[in-house]
């Protein structure tokens, strides 16, 4: 117990809530004052301390965040989607975001689905693919229902090779396809021979080379460790993966060399990874998913364990209600566009890549990646402020993922739906922008905030359990 007398003689550090003039006069005396930009609580959003069932929400969140924090996602191997992803079958296509029927799918998702059907040689052309996709003969299912995540359209078809990550602390496994690069690519809804040819090469050359290399590494590659290093090298591991991709190449390089006989193939594999700054994204995402899954099912927790978009809807799920989606219309991205494209061409926000923000990096770690703010003409100061603001809505902080410019403070971890509603501050998202029409591909990149409505719905549901 501290006593009042213990305060006497100590240096005061003052927290000021309310009148700014009170802070100013204390500052004038050379005393450290932290001024809070105080806002009254929002009307109709009482602080939820306990669930109706009597669970202490803070305690539940402590548990949920602790589970996320303790996660150790490791790349342990590779496989073919139909063989390794639970529930996957020959007539199933996985997609990003919350569940959606063909009729409501956005252009890029439709494009990616049709492209996948052509790639799989189920359909000969786009017309046939469209007909089949609309016929009901193909089962569409969210990646998130299968321990998988997919960037942008997030389409996974049965024969695609996938990374397999295992959370060594909890034993759960997650899956993600291999990143194709930027421009006209399937995940942005791109269609055409170049798209299919690249995918074929990835299955025929890239996948076996990587798979052999990984097979020679009994401990796999710890992806969280690479993320931690990349955060110190200017990545936030959602929209900037340049450093992390390089780190991955260093980690797997010797094994690639040892396990591949054909130097030309090896060179092309290295070239492909090296020329795709986003290669690591498809490892960063399943790593996030692997860390978050153990928090699913923590009763009474208000921590968000999924944020995902299908290009039509934005959906979130809570640790305490892991099977329930709360959705709202997907938002408009503010960004920079490739030449000839403008925001008129942009599809609404799309992809499972917001799993990175959910796991406490990506937009949450904006301060680590000042270069990203150039997407919106921002400054490094803006990046820092963004991360500092995200601490307002997260329950905890990472221990091992830290930000040098914030004096190695842990990144904001565990979006608390209560705090989002109480403060009105919405999660920051960094993302690529897909063309709204099927077949075109990527047109730019930018940032936005998650839509409030799905958080409101989730908050309401939480207040009723």
């Amino acid at each position: 117990m501290t006593g009042i007398k213990d305060l006497f003689g100590k240096e005061l550090t003052v927290l000021n809530l309310g009148l700014e003039s009170m802070a100013q006069s204390v500052k004038d005396q050379g005393v450290k004052v932290i001024n809070v930009d105080w806002q009254p609580p929002r009307a109709g959003i009482p602080h939820l301390q306990h669930t109706q069932g009597g669970i202490d929400i803070d305690e539940a969140n402590q548990e949920a965040v602790e589970r996320i924090r303790r996660g150790q996602p490791v790349l342990v191997g590779m496989g073919i989607a139909r063989e390794v992803i639970p529930g996957m079958h020959e007539r199933m296509i996985l997609h990003a975001g919350p569940p959606i029927a063909w009729e409501r799918m956005c252009g890029p998702t439709r494009g990616a689905v049709m492209g996948a059907l052509i790639y799989e040689e189920i359909c000969p052309d786009e017309q046939a693919a469209q007909k089949l996709a609309a016929s009901g003969a193909i089962e569409f299912s969210p990646c998130h229902h299968h321990h998988a995540v997919g960037p942008m359209a997030g389409v996974v078809s049965p024969s695609m090779p996938v990374f397999i990550l295992e959370n060594k602390t909890f034993g759960n496994r997650t899956f993600c396809t291999l990143n194709e690069g930027l421009g006209k690519v399937l995940r942005y809804g791109g269609m055409g021979q170049e798209v299919y040819a690249r995918l074929k090469w990835m299955a025929s050359d890239l996948y076996p080379a990587l798979d052999r290399a990984l097979g020679s590494l009994p401990d796999g590659i710890n992806i969280k460790s690479l993320i931690a290093q990349a955060l110190h090298m200017g990545d936030e591991c959602h929209n900037r993966n340049r450093a992390a991709t390089s780190l991955f190449l260093r980690a797997i390089g010797p094994a690639l060399a040892r396990t591949n006989r054909d130097n030309e193939v090896l060179a092309r594999v290295i070239e492909f990874i090296d020329r795709n700054d986003h290669f690591f994204l498809n490892l960063s995402m399943p790593a996030a998913k692997a860390m978050l899954e153990p928090a699913e099912g923590v009763a009474g927790s208000s921590i968000v364990t999924v944020m995902a978009r299908n290009g039509t809807d934005f959906g979130i799920r809570l640790a305490s209600m892991p099977d329930r989606w709360f959705t709202a219309p997907a938002g408009k991205v503010q960004g920079l566009y490739f030449p000839q494209y403008t925001e008129k061409d942009a599809n609404p926000d799309i992809g499972d890549s917001t799993i990175t923000e959910t796991a406490g990096y990506g937009g949450m770690a904006m301060a680590a990646a000042p270069a990203i703010t150039q997407f919106v003409g921002g400054t490094p100061q803006l990046a820092t402020r963004t991360t500092l603001e995200m601490y307002e809505i997260t329950f905890g902080e990472h221990e091992n993922l830290t930000i040098p410019t914030l004096n190695f403070r842990g990144t904001p971890l565990g979006i608390d739906v209560r705090k989002v509603m109480e403060t009105g501050i919405l999660p920051q998202i960094n993302t690529g922008i897909a063309h709204k029409d099927p077949g075109v591909g990527m047109v730019g990149a930018g940032i936005l905030r998650a839509p409030e409505a799905c958080f409101r719905e989730a908050w309401k549901a939480l207040s009723e359990i």
Binding site: L7, F8, T13, V14, E20, V36, P40, A43, L388
Partner: protein, 523 residues
């Protein structure tokens, strides 16, 4: 001339009252604007707007979270321009700029980023203040709760928790504290010294500490407990805890306790704590009757703030001489001064009008007038058994008005920050032919207006001119609660007032006594 009233409602936009006031003031200076209000749309503010003729139908539909800007102009075009101007003024205030530092939005995140915080100063609107105080206490912070309008139940619960956890919970309504020589809220720049002060009310603490400073005596700590601390329901929790802490504090050699007369049981429990230590202790239960209390060598009872400061100073510096002698000499001098003044007043000028910004100073003046058998005295904050003004906005007979009372401060800053209301009242009293003398308190220090003496001096000159035009003299007396080191500077403030013809006394008690002597022989 026909006036146009226009309103702009900004839903759920919050600004603190000082920013709003600044915006409103700048707006009234805007060309063609007759009157303007920039307020949160609380019920209280809406009724103020209604009275001012600034309430439009649209405004009536707003909710308390909304920001409401209302202007009264000579034409619609001017009104539209004025509203645009108001928006720009508020934006100017919030514009952080690209390079500016991040300001945390919640206490939680502020503390996560700054683990060294040990004191929270809370001045948010009363209905939110208790929740914030709870959060601060739960984080192990000492709290200065500046906000008013916190329920008695909340106060008791907060203080009980604070006591259990060894924390200070000053307030609610704690306007003044000096902790570790840092002035918090309304407080003065004081020398360091051996006196520890605990006061229920802010201006009591300011007056005593400044009077000590005038005698060259400094303080260790100045703790404000909030005005209700010594009520029966609260039981003096914070006064007791603070006494204990100062008794154990080696730097504090003399204790000073200031409050209105507490509940008898509370007084007893405080006294039984005070006797636990041999440190000289001055107890000022302002205006209370302490004649029957057991005499204890190291305890001195003071009747006024002035006496309290005189006794406390002598406990540190015995060479200052006897208090009674000092007061007697002072009385002779005052009587002479009063005699001179009296000659200038007409027989019709019969009444005292005290216009106070400090509640405790208003109270002390009434105590002194009561001692001088000046009655009846009317007040909006009368002594127990005193007479309440029928209408606080109109004086009757001898009047002592506390302009810091809530009835005057709803939707408006405190009179220590904003002199407007007092200036208006000053002119109102000056135009009353029955007014003999106007008594003012001028409070300096952090938190207070940057130049109260200057603004009040100009108003006094105007008031005296007004009286002259009607063929009479007007006496104005004042005291300045402040120190040389205050940003406004005691001697500078005093000389500005003196130049305007104000009789400036060394203490509020002295000024009240001088005032009393002037009308002593009038009806």
């Amino acid at each position: 001339m026909k006036m146009v009233v226009r309103t702009l409602i900004k839903p759920a936009e919050y600004h603190d009252s000082v920013s709003l006031m600044l915006a409103a003031r700048e707006l009234t200076n805007f060309e063609g604007v007759h009157d303007a209000a920039v307020v949160m749309a609380t019920q209280a503010n809406l009724s103020i707007l209604a009275e001012a003729g600034l309430l439009s139908e649209e405004a009536e539909t707003s909710s308390p979270d909304d920001l409401l800007i209302a202007v009264k102009c000579e034409s619609d075009a001017l009104a539209i321009a004025a509203l645009a101007k108001a928006e720009a003024l508020l934006k100017k205030k919030t514009g952080g700029g690209e390079g500016s530092e991040y300001t945390p939005k919640t206490m939680r995140s502020a503390l996560a980023a700054n683990p060294g915080v040990n004191l929270a100063v809370i001045s948010v609107a009363g209905r939110f203040a208790a929740d914030e105080a709870w959060e601060a206490l739960h984080h192990g912070l000492h709290v200065l709760l500046f906000s008013d309008n916190v329920s008695l139940e909340d106060e008791i619960a907060l203080k009980t928790y604070a006591r259990q956890h060894g924390l200070l919970l000053m307030g609610p309504g704690a306007g003044t504290a000096i902790l570790n020589h840092v002035a918090l809220g309304f407080a003065n720049v004081l020398p360091e010294g051996p006196v520890g002060i605990i006061s229920a009310a802010g201006t009591g603490l300011q007056e005593v500490s400044c009077l000590l400073a005038r005698q060259g005596v400094g303080i260790t700590q100045g703790i404000g407990t909030g005005g209700r601390d010594l009520r029966k329901e609260v039981g003096g929790i914070m006064m007791l805890e603070s006494v204990k802490a100062l008794q154990q504090d080696p730097a504090t050699r003399v204790l000073v306790l200031v409050s209105k007369p507490p509940d008898p049981a509370v007084a007893n429990s405080i006294l039984s704590q005070v006797v636990q230590s041999k440190k000289p202790s001055m107890i000022c239960f302002l205006g209370g009757d302490d004649a029957d209390r057991t005499k204890i060598p190291h305890i001195t009872y003071a009747h006024t703030l002035q006496e309290c400061a005189l006794y406390a100073a002598r406990a540190v510096k015995p060479e200052l001489g006897e208090v009674k002698e000092y007061l007697a000499k002072d009385a002779t001098q005052l009587a002479h001064q009063a005699g001179e003044l009296r000659k200038q007043l007409s027989p019709k000028q019969r009444y005292l009008r005290g216009l106070f910004s400090g509640g405790t100073l208003c109270y002390e003046a009434q105590v002194i007038w009561k001692d001088m058998r000046i009655n009846p005295v009317y007040s909006n904050a009368p002594l127990p058994g005193g007479l309440t003004l029928a209408d606080s906005t109109r004086s009757q007979g001898h009047t002592a008005i506390d302009l810091g009372e809530e009835e005057f401060t709803v939707g408006r800053p405190h009179p220590m920050i904003d002199n407007d209301l007092r200036i208006r009242r000053l002119l109102q009293e000056a135009s009353d032919p029955q007014t003999a003398l106007i008594l003012l308190d001028v409070v300096l220090g952090y938190g207070a207006h940057p130049d109260p003496a200057g603004e009040l001096s100009r108003a006094v000159s105007a008031a005296r001119e007004l009286a002259h035009k009607e063929g009479r003299e007007l006496a104005v007396a004042a005291s300045v609660t402040g120190t040389e080191a205050d940003p406004q500077c005691l001697s500078r403030s005093t000389s500005v007032l003196t130049q305007a013809g104000v009789m400036v006394c060394e203490s509020n008690a002295q000024a009240a006594r001088l005032a009393g002597m002037i009308i002593a022989d009038r009806g």
